[in-house]
């Protein structure tokens, strides 16, 4: 049985350490202890046959989902009258199209989950077999070494004894290496499966909106609405968390409020307007605030809504690998801007600037205050910059940021510590995602590997994850920076940099210190993340 709380990453870390201890053991007793420690680490846990059984069931469900998809697509192709079917204004054609896409996604998710389970089963089978082989080598080495030396035995080692000990050490080293490789395989496979299954679960979004106040058809359409800034599947407006929170908010409403909100949805001039109203509710605003917001955005075209209410959009070509700039950063970056004025930091305010954008991503009322001003109707990038600057400074104060005095001209921001970042993340983002943020140090590859599944789950659900990166400049001086993970697809992470850009990096880049791809080569290492609690 595995030790209590021993994760696949724990096993991997422990075996890496014992492998080094065995290779470096220069006396018999130390070698015996290191071998026993390695043998105490549990074998890769899990039942490949159970995983295979589940995968088989998924295969049958995938066939059923494909059948549903085919039939719904047939209905969509036949054309439908422009009839009103939903209580929130969703048209029949919209519902059928959304249903067709949901069925396609369901088919893809079930097949993807099946594939993830088969890969995990295969990796587990191999890892368990390799682990067994490695253990046999360790036991063989223990057998060669015999019992531990006593105090006096240990004082003299004959040539033959030394030769036998070294032979045993070689065998044990090979065994520990095999066990460690097996542990790596099991850990990577478990993390990849968790990542993919979490993502598929988060993408089954319509089901997250658990309320009877609006029909299943309306829920289906809401989950399907996307912004105009890029491909639909990369720019859905309502995250799994939005749908879950808005569903709960609707459940809490009295009948009068339910009718009022339903009317707002039904009167929306576009699907996007409807989705932003739901997002406003998900962000925790009461119905009066949502109603005021509705008056500001009512009738605006989808491009206006996207520009004012969605700070981060994802372009279709954003994941293409176009190589690196001379400073180590990705060439392929997307500027995130409001009419040419970036969502970027002024002065040394990367931490508050990260959080300002993070809040704007999850709270459309806040985004509109920044872009559209008090009236919500402004479209002026210079005024946006001024408001963004003021907001960055407000959060700098709130997070007790450091200042540099520039006598006699006042002071300028000079960074913020992790405690301040936790404070402002909780003041600004938590009320709108429902999750409290806590800081988790992740200064080593193992720590980053450990935290990655939680990061990806949060992001897939629609909760951005602020991160800290650091390194040295060419003079050897410390440089630190704040960024935020805002998206995840497969093994890629979308990173927002408060220099006003987003770009994609791999999980491997995050774990193994290649974060310069999202900033520059002075700052390759992620050192900590702010994780939203479950």
């Amino acid at each position: 049985m595995p030790a209590a709380g021993e994760s696949t990453t724990d096993r991997r870390e422990k075996l890496a350490g014992y492998q080094r201890s065995i290779a470096g053991a220069d006396d018999k007793n130390t070698l015996i202890e290191a071998i026993r420690s390695a043998l105490d680490v549990s074998a890769p846990v899990g039942s490949p046959s159970t995983l295979d059984d589940i995968a088989e069931r998924y295969a049958k469900q995938a066939d059923a989902a494909r059948d549903v998809q085919d039939r719904v697509e047939q209905v969509a192709l036949t054309g439908l009258p422009d009839a009103w079917v939903g209580s929130t204004g969703a048209k029949a054609q919209e519902v059928v199209s959304a249903a067709a896409r949901a069925a396609a996604q369901m088919d893809e998710a079930i097949r993807g989950a099946r594939r993830a389970l088969i890969l995990l089963s295969d990796a587990l089978t191999t890892a368990q077999s390799e682990d067994k082989g490695g253990r046999e080598q360790l036991r063989e080495a223990l057998g060669m070494l015999g019992s531990q030396d006593g105090f006096f035995d240990d004082m003299v080692e004959k040539d033959a004894e030394e030769a036998e000990r070294l032979r045993a050490r070689n065998i044990a080293s090979a065994g520990a290496k095999t066990m460690h490789a097996a542990a790596e395989k099991a850990d990577d496979a478990a993390r990849e499966a968790a990542r993919d299954l979490n993502k598929f679960a988060a993408e089954a979004r319509a089901g997250r909106m658990k309320t009877d106040n609006i029909s299943a058809a309306d829920r289906l359409v809401l989950a399907d609405i996307s912004g105009t800034g890029g491909p639909a599947e990369m720019n859905e407006l309502l995250t799994a968390n939005d749908l879950e929170r808005s569903g709960k908010a609707m459940e809490r409403m009295n009948a009068q409020d339910q009718a009022r909100f339903e009317r707002m949805l039904a009167e929306a001039k576009s699907p996007q307007e409807r989705a932003y109203l739901v997002k406003a509710l998900a962000a925790g605003h009461d119905l009066n605030e949502v109603s005021e917001f509705r008056d500001k955005i009512h009738g605006k075209d989808p491009a206006w809504l996207q520009r004012h209410l969605t700070p981060v959009t994802t372009a279709g070509d954003s994941k293409f690998n176009e190589g690196l700039n001379a400073d180590g950063s990705n060439k392929n970056t997307d500027q995130q801007a409001f009419k040419g004025e970036r969502w970027s930091q002024d002065a040394a305010t990367c931490v508050p600037s990260t959080v300002v954008t993070g809040r704007a991503v999850v709270d459309p009322l806040y985004a509109l205050e920044l872009t559209g001003g008090p009236s919500g109707q402004e479209d002026d990038p210079a005024a946006f910059r001024e408001r963004l600057h003021d907001e960055q400074m407000r959060l700098h104060e709130d997070g007790d940021g450091s200042n540099e005095y520039d006598f006699p001209f006042g002071s300028t921001p000079a960074g913020m510590d992790e405690e301040g970042k936790t404070t402002i993340s909780n003041h600004e983002m938590s009320p709108h995602t429902g999750s409290e943020y806590r800081y988790q140090e992740a200064a080593s590859a193992d720590a980053r590997r450990e935290v990655l599944t939680d990061v990806e789950k949060s992001v897939a659900e629609g909760k951005p994850v602020p991160i800290t990166v650091e390194g040295k400049d060419k003079n050897g001086d410390y440089v630190g920076h704040s960024m935020m993970i805002v998206g995840q697809e497969g093994d890629m992470l979308q990173v927002y940099n408060p220099w006003g850009t987003t770009t994609w990096i791999s999980e491997d880049d995050f774990i193994n210190g290649n974060m310069q791809k999202a900033s520059d080569n002075r700052m390759p290492n992620a050192t900590g993340v702010h994780l939203p609690a479950e």
Binding site: R342, M416, V479
Partner: protein
């Protein structure tokens, strides 16, 4: 609020920059003082903010100043390391040094690159220019340094 005493006690360069004169060396001009008058033989310096956490920097670009009027004598960058407990701290300044040669008027053109990767060079164009095509054509600054690449043009009159 965590004031930094060392920084507060040091005489900041920007104080000199805004005055347009140096107490202990050449006259120093900041980013918002773009009309310069000096005597022939004088040395002067352009001193510009270069925040390390932003990767902010400045580059001299063409057309270069008339060498018969103004001669460039050097450039360097000074940075102050951040406290490692502070994310995004540190400060820095980029200096361009010139000498007034003889009477006349000329222009010094700089490009301001507000963030790391805002500007880059290519094999065809060794002069720094905006990395993103959405930042071109590069506007000429009329105010203080902003968040998009801009040209800063200094007019130098040598008496």
């Amino acid at each position: 609020m965590r004031p930094r005493l060392a920084a507060a006690l040091a005489l900041p360069l920007s104080a000199l920059a805004l005055s347009g004169c140096g107490l202990f060396g050449p006259a120093t001009y900041g980013p918002e003082e773009r009309s310069i008058e000096v005597d022939a033989g004088d040395e002067f310096t352009l001193s510009l903010p270069a925040s390390p956490s932003m990767g902010q920097d400045w580059h001299l670009v063409s057309p270069h100043p008339d060498p018969a009027v103004v001669k460039r004598t050097g450039q360097h960058k000074e940075t102050e390391e951040s406290d490692p407990d502070l994310v995004g701290g540190g400060s820095g300044e980029r200096f361009f040094d010139f000498e007034a040669v003889k009477s006349g008027t000329t222009e010094i053109k700089l490009i301001h690159c507000p963030y790391s990767s805002s500007c880059s060079t290519t094999a065809d164009n060794p002069e720094p220019s905006p990395t993103s095509s959405s930042d071109t054509p590069v506007p000429t600054a009329t105010g203080k340094p902003g968040t998009n690449p801009e040209y800063f043009i200094y007019t130098v009159t040598v008496r």
